[in-house]
């Protein structure tokens, strides 16, 4: 390395060659400063632009999310429709409350008087299940799902709910009427059998299906 450094000829040649190079232009640094300022200004404006664009993009995204959320909601009812729906639901609830009270009373009476029906009459669910499990043909047929008798939760099912409720109500009323009649007849029959009756007294059924004790004399009279 020292040998290379000692080479005075080469060192002198390099010195002369370097001195031949033109000096730095005077206005170069000023031009460079100008360019740096322009670059920094451009960078600042670019940053501001990026900030504005990102804000706009964020707002657009937010609006899009809200819009999608609104579109995905099950129904869009006007305020008037909502009021009608609420009123209908309230009426239904009131009707149900009014009907439930006498039904409960009647149910209490039936519990006391009528004996529970035997298990066979309720339907042999186990047997059908076994049959379905055992036989191949039945196993392949999938059981169809029945629509439950409960009320639908959704708002748009309210009309159907009302109709269904009214139907159930009428069915309940008919059943209660029939059971009431049976109970009454049972009591009449029991009383007739237990109590000493006149010789001409007989138990008959009138046109409504109710038991009635009448005397044969009266029949003759009639």
């Amino acid at each position: 390395m020292n040998d290379i450094k000692k080479d005075t000829n080469l060192s002198e040649a390099v010195n002369r060659w370097e001195q031949q190079l033109p000096p730095m232009p005077d206005g170069l640094n000023e031009r460079l400063m100008k360019r740096l300022q322009e670059t920094s200004d451009a960078t600042q404006s670019q940053r501001q632009r990026i900030g504005i664009y990102s804000t706009i993009a964020a707002a657009a995204c937010l609006l899009l999310i809200i819009g999608i959320g609104k579109m995905l909601t099950p129904d869009r009812l006007t305020p008037q429709e909502e009021i009608v729906e609420i009123k209908a639901q309230q009426q239904l609830a009131n009707t149900a409350q009014e009907t439930v009270k006498p039904l409960q009373q009647l149910a209490n009476i039936t519990k006391k008087t009528v004996k529970p029906s035997p298990l066979n009459s309720r339907g042999n669910m186990q047997c059908t299940h076994r049959a379905a499990k055992g036989s191949k043909s039945i196993a392949t047929e999938r059981p169809t799902r029945q629509i439950p008798d409960t009320l639908g939760n959704s708002i748009w099912q309210s009309e159907q709910n009302v109709q269904r409720a009214l139907q159930l109500l009428s069915e309940c009323e008919a059943t209660i009427r029939r059971e009431e009649q049976e109970v009454r007849n049972h009591i009449i029959q029991a009383t007739f059998n237990a109590m000493p009756q006149p010789a001409n007294a007989i138990l008959v059924t009138n046109e409504n299906g109710d038991y009635e004790v009448i005397e044969t004399k009266n029949i003759i009279e009639l």
């Binding site: 080479d7 005075t8 000829n9 080469l10 060659w17 370097e18 190079l21 170069l28 031009r31 400063m33």
Partner: protein, 200 residues
């Protein structure tokens, strides 16, 4: 004798003080550059501009191109001042490194139709190195002509070593190499120059 030794101690102390002051100034300059102060930019250009321009000019011969590359070097340096590590190299060496690579990239992109003297074209005779030869005007002139025939990266290495008296470690940092490679490269370039002057 005693006076001489006292003078030496005094001189070394004053040199150390000056060096410390310069280091402190450089550190302050780097801090201010990192804070993007315009005055710091002006100070940087005033202090290191000529050195950087010289480095660029060694590789990029066209004046307009050299000015463009010079500006690019400082724009790049100011952008990357945050990543400058003073423990690796001095600020001047770091700037020279950027200038060296920027200039070479520029020259490579331009692809000039210049054919540099290749080692294969030179005679492979045994070469006696005139290490301790006295300064010879004719040899100097021939070497000067031969320098112009070297590729730009070799010219830059020779100039950094002989003109700027940079250490091999600094040259290696600038070129992205290792000091031993730079040493062997310098030896090879020198032999090449003497071979060229034989053909002239």
């Amino acid at each position: 004798m005693q006076c001489f030794s006292i003078l030496c101690v005094y001189n070394s102390r004053s040199v150390n003080e000056v060096e410390c002051k310069m280091e402190q100034e450089t550190d302050n300059l780097i801090d201010e550059l990192r804070q993007h102060k315009p005055t710091a930019c002006q100070r940087l250009l005033a202090a290191y501009g000529p050195t950087v321009y010289r480095m660029v000019q060694r590789i990029v011969t066209c004046r307009e191109d050299a000015e463009e590359v010079y500006q690019d070097v400082f724009v790049k340096a100011l952008r990357g001042i945050g990543g400058f590590n003073p423990r690796q190299a001095s600020l001047a060496t770091w700037l020279n490194r950027i200038a060296y690579h920027e200039s070479l990239n520029f020259v490579r992109c331009k692809r000039p139709a210049i054919v540099y003297m290749d080692d294969r074209n030179l005679c492979t005779d045994s070469f006696d190195t005139p290490d301790d030869a006295p300064p010879d005007e004719q040899t100097i002139q021939l070497l000067e002509q031969a320098l112009a025939m070297l590729p730009p990266h070799e010219q830059a290495i020779v100039s950094m070593f002989y003109y700027e008296n940079q250490s091999l470690a600094d040259i290696a940092y600038v070129t992205g190499s290792i000091p031993s490679t730079i040493g062997s490269q310098l030896s090879r370039i020198r032999k090449k120059l003497y071979r060229i002057i034989k053909t002239l």
